[in-house]
Amino acid sequence: MTIKLFGITREIVGASHIPVPDNQPLKTVADLKTWLYMEYPSLKQLKSIAVAVDQSYAEDHEVLGAAAEVALIPPVSGG
């Protein structure tokens, strides 16, 4: 699985994607967030991070399953 990054998350990580190692058992959105904050502690400085699964906002309890596309959504600031 690969996680798309935008805006400040892209800059913090220094890449536009994070590859998730296959040996990580990330079942839910919450699992993914826990793993991310461990791997990239500087993401904690952000006001919030939402997760989008297949281009829709996903709640913490949602199962990643066979998601085709996962992305981190730092605080939005369009408009």
Partner: protein, 137 residues
């Protein structure tokens, strides 16, 4: 009917032509532009980045909500990506409706919600640095 796009330039005439229609007596068009200052700092430019396919989907969801809530003839949502200088338009929300109240209310709803949910990010560039707006607590 709705026109929803992520673009590199907002063309006002195009937006207005789309909104103009014989059954609408009211057209309200909101344009957000780059201000020359933010939080007391002089702004030199903004850079917008979007998660485009999701941003379009989120804008379409908002359009559906607005169309359920108000009687709307035409709805327009445009947002830019890329570098934008002071004064340039960055977002356009337009509503054409039979009466003006619906146009005002729907425009306001759409820009308020767009700012909350649509995955687009803005980085402000000042003389002495830059920052992603709204990112930190």
């Amino acid at each position: 009917m709705a026109m929803i796009k992520i673009v590199t330039h907002i063309k006002l005439e195009e937006a207005y032509s789309y909104l103009s229609c014989p059954e609408a007596g009211a057209i309200n068009l909101f344009i957000g532009t780059v201000r020359n200052n933010a939080h007391g700092k002089k702004v030199e430019k903004l850079v917008f980045e979007a998660y485009e396919p999701m941003a379009l989907k989120e804008m379409e969801k908002l359009a559906v909500l607005a169309q359920q809530r108000w009687h709307i003839s035409k709805l327009l949502m445009l947002h830019v990506v890329g570098d934008k200088a002071v004064g340039e338009p960055v977002v356009a929300i337009g509503i054409a409706s039979a009466h003006r109240q619906e146009a005002f209310e729907a425009t306001r709803f759409l820009i308020d919600e767009l700012k909350k949910t649509v995955p687009i990010w803005k980085k402000e560039f000042y003389q002495d640095g830059s920052s992603w707006v709204n990112a930190h607590p």
